[in-house]
Symmetry: C2
Subunit: 118 residues, 2 copies
C-alpha cells in the first residue's frame, strides 16, 4: 500500500476535473507558453484563464517565471505521479476482480472438464 497525501490528491484531481484546465495542460505539453498565448483558444476572458492558471499552480501542476511583463508558464507533472499511482491501485484491483471473475466462470462452466493442451 502506497501512502498518499490527501491534500495533494484533492488539489490534483480537482484541478484535472475542469476541461479548460486539461486543455491548458495539453497546450503546455507542447511547449512553454505565456498567458495571452494560452488564453487565445479558450472562448473566455483573460482573467478567467488567469484564475485557471492559479488553480493549476496551487496544485503544483505548473511553474511560472517572469520575464518582464510576460509570464513563462511550464508544465510540472510531478503531482501527477501520486495521482497516477492512486488511480492505478484501484484500476489494478478492478482488473484483479475481472480476472478472479473469469477464473470463477471458467470453473463454473466446465467443472469436470480436463484442459486439452498443457
Amino acid at each position: 500500500m502506497v501512502k498518499y497525501s490527501s491534500r495533494t490528491l484533492n488539489r490534483t484531481f480537482a484541478a484535472l476535473a475542469d476541461p479548460t484546465r486539461r486543455r491548458i495542460l495539453a497546450h503546455l505539453a507542447r511547449g512553454d507558453k505565456c498567458v495571452t498565448h494560452l488564453a487565445k483558444p479558450h472562448a473566455m476572458s483573460l482573467p478567467a484563464v488567469s484564475k485557471h492558471l492559479r488553480v493549476l499552480e496551487k496544485a503544483g501542476l505548473l511553474r511560472r517565471r517572469r520575464y518582464g511583463r510576460v509570464h513563462e508558464i511550464r508544465l510540472d507533472a510531478k503531482p501527477l505521479r501520486q495521482a497516477a499511482q492512486w488511480v492505478e491501485e484501484y484500476r489494478k484491483f478492478w482488473q484483479g476482480s475481472l480476472d478472479r471473475l473469469a477464473d470463477y466462470l471458467e470453473k463454473q462452466n466446465r467443472p469436470l472438464e480436463k484442459r486439452k493442451t498443457k
Copy 2:
C-alpha cells in the same frame, strides 16, 4: 494520442477530488458493502454519505443492487481506465522532459569530454 470523453473525465476526476469519496472507494475495494456499513467510519450523517455515493454512481465508479431494503454497493473501476490513461500521458511527457533535460545537462557540463567507456 488517445481520445477521451470530456464529460467522463470531468465526472471521474471530480468524484476522486473528495477525500471522503476516495475513502469510500478504498473500503469498497475490500469488499462489497451496504450504505450503512460504508457510512459508519465517516464522521457525518447518512444523507451526506448517500450523496457521495450518488456522485460516485453518476461517475460510473460504483454499481448498486437492491436486496429488499439494503443496497449492495460494489466498485466499478471502468472509468478509471480513461482517467489513468490521461494522467499517464502527461506523466510520461514529464518523464520525457526530465530525460531530455538530463541529456542537455550532460552535454552542457562536459562539452569537450570524451566518454570513457563506450
